[in-house]
Each structure stands twice: as C-alpha cells, then as structure tokens.
C-alpha cells in the first residue's frame, strides 16, 4: 500500500505565534488514522495546513503523490480531500439538500459513489429536514449534514475534525459504525476525536501531538496497551 498522504517537517504559525513544529504524519491508502492530543495542541492547525487553509511555513505535504503544500485549498479539495470541520460550518443560506448537492462529485471515481439517497439512509433525520435552511438545524443535525456533505464529494481522503461533537450517544455510535463501514469499503480517513477508546477499535494507526510536536506514533494495539500514554497526552 502506498502513502496517500505524507506530511513531513511541517511548521505552521498564526502570525507571530508558532503553532506547529516539525509535524510529520503518514496515512496509507485505505487506512484510518487518528490525530490525538489535548485542547489547543495543534490538531486543527495540522488539518488546516494539510487542507491548504493555512499556509505551512515549511515542510512537505504530499497527497496522491503530488506536492500540495503550495496549492490553494480549492485545488486540493478537487484532488479528492474533504473535511468535516470543527464547528460544522454548514452553509446557512442553502437548504439541507442544496448543502449536499452543491459540491457533489465523484472525485475518487468510485463505482458506487455516495448519492443523496445514500446519505439520507445514513441520516434519516436529514431527510425530514431536507427543505430546511442550514441555520435552522439543531447542532447535531448540522453535524450530520457536515458529514454527509463531505461524503457527497467521494473523496480519496476524508478528514473528520471532532465530528462527534454535540452528537447524541446513539448517533455517535452510528458514526462509529459508519466509519467502520467506510473503512471496510477502503475509504481512507483521518480522524480527530476525543473518544480514544472508540478510536482504538476503529483506526489503524495514531499520532499524538503535544504543543505542536509529534510525541508518539504507533498502531492501535500499541496505543491500547499503553494506558500511560492516554493519561499523559490525552488526559483520560
């Protein structure tokens, strides 16, 4: 399996404050990887750097074999990367259905792309709300919509930044189940989430960052075995 995403030596800052120092991360095709760490450690910043939303000062980011660290966000997205962003960021002036349809595409040329019906099967709640505007949804409904919106582009790499924030336990479970299903279908995924106990059962490999630096990398088994790591870096 080749690396779908390869991040090496990335430094990123906001203005004068340096946030990331020498972050590295590799995700092979078909893998589910996580990025873990406490609040404010730079998880979102790493994701933003990868997505091209925040320009990295230095370092290399390769996606599907292309160097993307200087590309614009929209270019990177069209290469097949989609994000469920922190805070959901639903398009408030589009209806639920328009949110899903507006950017739908088959970017990874799969034979069974996600369709509107597929998303509605996954989240029946959205189907009930299909005519509502984005800003007329509850927090959790917005979260479902954000996931659906990302899936509708059929990305090579799906990035979830705290995608279970604000979801009811039942729905959260459905998301985990959905991730497992996606993984089974060969979807490559990068997840940031605080439910580490769930992630170790779903993901293949993990990266922990602390104050902008990678402090640990390893497979699920290693993480599951080492409770010290949890306490030290994730605060569980």
């Amino acid at each position: 399996m080749s690396a779908l995403l390869d991040v090496a030596g990335v430094h990123t800052s906001y203005g004068s404050s340096k946030i990331l120092a020498d972050v590295g991360l590799t995700i092979a095709e078909g893998q589910v990887a996580t990025l873990l760490g406490r609040n404010g450690m730079g998880k979102t910043t790493t994701i933003r750097s990868v997505l091209g939303l925040t320009q990295a000062q230095s370092g290399s980011i390769r996606f599907r074999g292309h160097a993307i660290e200087r590309l614009s966000a929209d270019k990177i997205a069209r290469m097949g990367m989609a994000v469920v962003p922190e805070g959901r960021r639903i398009f408030a002036n589009l209806s639920v259905e328009e949110n899903l349809v507006a950017f739908s595409a088959n970017r990874n040329s799969t034979r069974e792309p996600w369709t509107l019906d597929g998303i509605y099967d996954l989240f029946p709640r959205l189907k009930q709300r299909r005519r509502n505007m984005g800003n007329q949804l509850s927090g959790g409904e917005q979260q479902m919509l954000a996931i659906g919106r990302a899936l509708m582009t059929n990305p090579y790499l799906l990035i979830l930044d705290e995608a279970t924030e604000g979801l009811a336990p039942l729905i959260r479970e459905e998301i985990w189940a959905c991730l497992s299903k996606l993984r089974a279908q060969g979807q490559t995924i990068l997840v940031v989430d605080k439910y580490v106990d769930r992630l170790v059962t779903i993901a293949d490999c993990h990266t922990i960052i602390e104050r902008g630096k990678v402090v640990w990398k390893g497979p699920s088994q290693a993480l599951a075995d080492d409770r010290m790591l949890w306490e030290r870096y994730i605060g569980v």
Binding site: L53, P85, L94, F103, R107
Partner: protein, 304 residues
C-alpha cells in the same frame, strides 16, 4: 380616469423593473460577496456613457448596447480584480470608504473623458413613438420595451441563482468563503464572474434608461440609494426580494407622485408644490422603515 391609473401603474412597473436591474447586481454582490459596493452606481454611469458613445459611433442602438454591455462587464471585472478583491475580507466600513473613493474617481474620469455636460441619445426609431394598447389608450413603445427586458432578465437570474448548481456554489461561497473553498469551489473566479454579471446588468439599465433620462456624471448616486433601499426591503442577497422590492418602490414612487399632489390641491398650488413632492419622496423611506419594523431582515430574508 381608469386609464390614468393604468398608465401610472405601467409607469411604476417600468421604473421598478429598471431599478431591479441595478438592485439585482447590488444584492448579489452584497449578499454573496458581502461587499457593500457603493460604486455599483458608477458602473451604471459608465455603462450608460459607453452605450451612448457606441450608439452614436455605430449609429445603431442595439449594437451600441451590446458592445457597451460587454465593455462594462470587462470594466467591472477589472475593477474587481484590481481593487474590490482587496476589500472582500475587510469590514463593511473599509468597503464603504474604498468604494466611495471609486465613485469619486469614476465621476471625475468620466468628466475628463466626456466633459461635464450630459450626453443625450435617442431610442431606436421603431420604438420612439407611442403604441396603442387598446383603443384610446396610447403608451410609449420604448417604455414597454424596457419592461420586457427587465422581466426577461429577472426570470433568467432567478433560475440561475436558485436552481442551478453554480448558483448554489455561489451562495455557499457567500455564506462561508473558506468552507466553500475547502469543498473545492474556485471562489475567486465565481466572484469575478458574478461581478461581471452585475456590471453587465448595470450597463443594461444605463443603456435602457439613457435615452429616457440623461447620461450624466452623478447619475449613479441618485439611483444608488434607491437600489439599496430595494435590496434591503427585499432582503439582502435575495433576487426574488430585489424583484418584489423594485416593483414596490417603483410603484410607490410613481403613484405617490401622481396621487399626493391632487390630495393637496385643496391647499393651493403653493403648498402643493412644496409639500406634495416631498411627501411623495418620503413614502419610499416610510415603506422601508415600516417593512424593516415588521420584517427586520427584509421581505425575503436569506440565510444567517
């Protein structure tokens, strides 16, 4: 008596539809790019000047119109790419200052290029006279043509914005530009395209109204405020709202000017001459204040 009401109604619709051409571009640029573009009126002026000049040079109204619209769209894109683009991420205040500066520059440049005196040009000869709509009722053919153009553009715009995927993407870019880019939208191109559209609509309005009114420096500002009123009444970013708002404003303005003076005629022409026109003008603002009082986000609020 009935024909007066009919004629005034037609006048109101005609004025409203022209207002719509301006308001449509304004509301899109405002709602979608979140840009308070005071210089929208300048594009209307530039369009009118270009069309007047081309019409005279080519001796054909429609050719002049076509060429003028094209060139104005280019001017719009140029303006967008060089200056306005820098203003998108700024707050509304900077945008007000920046686009106010553009008004000054545009006005003086036009004054230098074309001189301070208004240009006049005539509608195509075929539309110059009146047509008899039904026995005993004549109405200027040109004003009918204006209505047709306005209605056509309104329909096309509505479909483009609310029914196509391009329209959705553009609206998405409006709601959250960064997120739209992260979804793969080339927002800067979309915005340039949208701006070109807005400029073209301005030119169309300028070209259609030019023969009726006058092509002069400052013509943009006087109508700009009305266009803003329309945009706000309709709900910022809503093409449908702009349409309804335009017709409302056009109607109220025309009917106000027609009816109010006769209400005051009892007080003698002296009073009527000073109070009536002022009152007629107040109506529009009263309408806006009232609408915003009941519907604080306009008639057709959009999004957040």
């Amino acid at each position: 008596m009935n024909t007066v009401i009919l004629e005034q109604t037609l006048n109101g619709i005609q004025f409203g539809l022209m207002l719509f051409l301006l308001a449509a571009g304004l509301t899109l640029v405002f709602g979608i790019m979140d840009l308070v573009n005071l210089s929208h009126g300048s594009l209307y002026m530039i369009g009118a000047y270009l069309i007047a000049t081309f019409t005279q040079a080519l001796d054909s109204f429609w050719l002049g119109m076509l060429l003028g619209i094209g060139v104005t769209a280019c001017v719009g894109v140029l303006l967008e790419m060089t200056i306005l683009r820098q203003l998108y991420k700024r707050d509304h205040l900077s945008q007000v200052l920046g686009t106010f500066a553009i008004i000054l520059i545009a006005n003086e440049s036009v004054r230098i290029l074309w001189g301070p005196q208004p240009l006049t040009f005539n509608p195509p000869a075929s539309l110059a006279g009146p047509v008899e709509l039904f026995p005993g009722f004549e109405y200027p053919a040109y004003r009918l043509a204006i209505m047709a153009v306005g209605a056509l553009v309104a329909a096309a715009l509505y479909v483009l914005i609310s029914k196509t995927r391009i329209g959705m993407k553009v609206r998405a870019g409006a709601a959250d530009r960064e997120m739209a880019e992260a979804m793969g939208a080339k927002v800067s191109w979309m915005f340039s395209g949208l701006f070109a559209c807005g400029a073209a609509l301005c030119a169309l309005a300028g070209g259609m109204l030019g023969p009726l009114l006058a092509v002069q420096v400052g013509m943009g500002e006087s109508i700009l405020i009305l266009a803003f009123v329309v945009v706000v009444i309709g709900g910022i970013g809503s093409v449908r709202g702009a349409f309804v708002g335009s017709l409302l404003v056009g109607m109220i303005d025309t009917l106000g000017r027609a009816v109010i003076p006769s209400l005051f005629s009892g007080f003698g022409p002296e009073v009527a001459s000073s109070v009536a026109p002022a009152l007629a003008a107040i109506l529009i603002y009263l309408l806006m204040a009232a609408i915003l009082f009941w519907k604080p986000k306009g008639l057709f609020p959009v999004g957040a």
